[in-house]
């Protein structure tokens, strides 16, 4: 009897699925790009739009009240776009994660609902919306109901300063990175409240673990963030990107040996802050049912998961911004893009810069997912030890090293380039060696090329 052969989808369907999966969430940033002129701080865009609308409707809309209403509408519209980007990205991320998990565990993963299983996240979302919204007896029902919105707010507020491309950012705040670290604090508050208000010991333990974890890892994360901030001399996200270049040796991560270390400190801390494996103690299924999520169902559960998976984008985008040159397009420096302003080509280059940023971010997001299915969950004492005994001291060393490094760069500007070239070449070798190793392992097992048949 022939062994079971999974039904394999045609290659064109796989390609189409991937193309759609990558495109759908980015329709929203494109719409945001289109709405950027409306969001100018001077309000000029709104004035123009109102004048046009007044002409169409035949009324005078030039008064201050109309302007205020128009501004509010524009802000709401952009907020709507951002939140939907987060929601749809997290939906697709769930699907992507399940497919990767399937591959890494030698099983199939979702492959039924439409387009080779791609629509499973839509089915999930519909299911969540239709489920009953349960509030446990004896729970503090109001707090229980509002807790997910704290989490959602903390997550959604980060999009205010998160860049998507050369000019695609809601508000390039002067305190950008600092702002991101501080608004994520609302997530912790939401988690603590949800843990307490559920009136369940599993939820309470989960909430406490989460708070302990996030508070501990905020410190190394903050220290690591300071390294690129010192190198750029600014807290603004766009300024930090502008201080870097498109080529790998112009990225902050390679321009300073301490930044390379700081990146790993930041990445580890952010995994912990986002409750991702191996730091998923707050929702450890085998010990705490689902931690602070235990009592949630339906839409509120979906909100938690939406921000949790959406956080993968936030953390990857932050790392891309701080260490990997952001949206810098090779061969097209930022000044050259700005010079195109007013022409059609400007919009094109915006799209290119968004694509560069998205590709870098998605590659990092992929690493996040990959880690989840590779590493086991660590114990709580190991989690604390890692933060306080390793990451915090390393973070301080990086910070102090960077201070001296910047002094050295001031004296000898060639230092940065030398470090950049040396470290990026080294990183290239590591990546090549890694892929050769993986390829060898895969071919040793299967004896032939990588098998994509279960798509």
């Amino acid at each position: 009897m022939a062994p079971y052969q999974p039904k394999s989808d045609p290659k064109w369907l796989v390609a189409l699925t991937l193309a759609v999966a990558l495109t759908v969430p980015f329709l929203f940033p494109v719409l945001i790009l289109l709405s950027m002129p409306l969001a100018e701080p001077s309000g000029g865009g709104v004035t123009l739009a109102l004048r046009w609308l007044g002409n169409v409707l035949g009324t005078d809309l030039s008064g201050p009240v109309a302007h205020d209403v128009g501004t509010a509408v524009v802000l709401l519209l952009i907020a709507f776009l951002f939140i939907n980007f987060g929601a749809i990205f997290s939906g697709i991320c769930v699907w992507w994660e399940r497919r990767i998990a399937g591959r890494m565990q030698s099983r199939i993963g979702p492959n039924r609902q439409g387009l080779g299983g791609f629509l499973v996240w839509v089915a999930d979302a519909v299911k969540f919306l239709l489920k009953e919204d349960l509030v446990p007896a004896e729970a503090d029902s109001l707090l229980f109901r509002i807790a997910p919105y704290f989490v959602l707010t903390g997550f959604a507020l980060t999009f205010v300063v998160l860049p998507f491309g050369h000019s695609v950012v809601m508000a390039d705040l002067n305190v950008g990175v600092f702002y991101i670290t501080s608004v994520t604090a609302l997530v912790v508050v939401g988690i603590l409240i949800s843990g307490w208000s559920s009136n369940s010991k599993w939820a309470l333990f989960g909430g406490m673990r989460s708070a302990a974890q996030v508070v501990s890892y905020e410190i190394p994360a903050g220290l690591a963030v300071f390294v690129p901030v010192l190198m750029a001399g600014s807290l603004s996200m766009q300024d930090i990107i502008r201080a870097q270049g498109a080529a790998p040796w112009d990225w902050f991560i390679f321009r300073n040996p301490a930044a390379l270390v700081a990146f790993f400190v930041l990445f580890t801390s952010q995994l912990a802050e986002a409750n991702r494996t191996p730091f998923d103690l707050p929702e450890a299924e085998s010990e705490l049912v689902a931690g602070y999520l235990s009592e949630y169902s339906g839409f509120r559960f979906a909100l938690f998961f939406m921000s949790e998976f959406g956080n993968i984008w936030v953390m990857s985008a932050l790392a891309t911004t701080l260490f990997f040159g952001g949206w810098q397009v090779p061969g097209m420096p930022a000044a050259a893009i700005s010079a195109l302003k007013g022409t059609g080509a400007w919009w094109g280059w915006q799209l290119v810069s968004m694509a560069v940023f998205a590709v870098k971010t998605l590659l990092l997001a992929n690493v996040v997912i990959w880690l989840r299915w590779t590493l086991p969950r660590i114990r709580i004492d190991q989690m604390m030890t890692l933060s306080w005994k390793y990451l915090v001291p390393i973070g301080f060393v990086c910070l102090i090293f960077t201070l001296f490094w910047q002094l050295g760069v001031g004296a000898a500007p060639g230092l940065e380039l030398a470090s950049g070239v040396a470290l990026s070449v080294g990183a290239l070798f590591v990546v090549i060696a890694f892929f050769r190793r993986v390829f060898k392992n895969v071919t040793d097992v299967r004896g032939d090329a990588i098998d994509l048949s279960n798509w």
């Binding site: 201050p64 009240v65 205020d68 501004t71 509010a72 004896e138 729970a139 503090d140 707090l143 705040l173 002067n174 305190v175 600092f178 702002y179 670290t181 501080s182 608004v183 994520t184 604090a185 609302l186 912790v188 508050v189 603590l192 409240i193 843990g195 307490w196 208000s197 009136n199 010991k201 309470l204 909430g207 406490m208 708070a211 302990a212 996030v214 508070v215 905020e218 807290l235």
Partner: protein, 208 residues
């Protein structure tokens, strides 16, 4: 003093506060916006400002009057968020974000954490004595007239808020020049506090 009375007194007090606020708002603030006044309709910024100010006051009242300590924490959260928003209106961007980071990310989370570490947290209705009426009213009677008189009597200089200029670099410069002494000495405060916290949190001292 029985419970009904203290409850009634509490509500009367709250009603008085609300009435005072409304009275102030209607007589002092609103006329500027009415057609008879300066004929300036409230702009979006004004509305947001009053919303933030009201939320701050309401949050602070929640902290003081809630009988449930977790609800007090939520009140504190709202008050702190409102304060951060008011800083934004004063063009103090760095301060606003620092307020978020320190007070919500640090202080509030620690308070919630401590509340959850306390005994009997399983009972949802953890209530605290919301008002020691006699003492509270005495202190209020002593302090409130003073502060209210000051608030009313002083000719506060009115200045339009500055433009949203970046403040971070200036704050850094000031810390390391004009305010170097308190800034550096503050590190001793933090060290002493850390040592003190460890001293209090450790196990009972035994001869070793």
């Amino acid at each position: 003093m029985n419970r009904t009375f203290s409850k009634l007194a509490l509500w009367a007090f709250l009603a008085l506060l609300v009435a005072l606020f409304l009275g102030y708002f209607i007589t002092r603030v609103l006329p500027d916006y009415l057609p008879a006044g300066r004929a300036v309709p409230p702009r979006l910024g004004d509305l947001v400002f009053y919303a933030c100010a009201a939320a701050t006051v309401a949050g602070a009242a929640g902290v003081a009057f809630s009988r449930n300590i977790v609800w007090s924490c939520i009140g504190l959260l709202i008050a702190l968020l409102g304060t951060a928003a008011l800083y934004v209106f004063l063009s103090a961007d760095f301060l606003a974000v620092a307020q978020l980071l320190v007070y919500i990310g640090g202080v509030l989370v620690l308070i919630l954490f401590a509340v959850m570490l306390t005994n009997r947290i399983g009972e949802v209705n953890v209530s605290n004595q919301s008002l020691g009426l006699g003492g509270g009213l005495a202190v209020f009677a002593a302090v409130a007239p003073l502060l209210m008189l000051v608030a009313v009597l002083v000719p506060w200089p009115v200045r339009p808020p500055g433009p949203m200029a970046p403040t971070t670099a200036r704050i850094g410069d000031e810390f390391l020049s004009t305010w170097l002494l308190p800034f550096e000495v503050a590190s001793v405060v933090l060290l002493a506090t850390l040592v003190g916290a460890v001293v209090m949190a450790r196990k009972e001292l035994k001869a070793d």
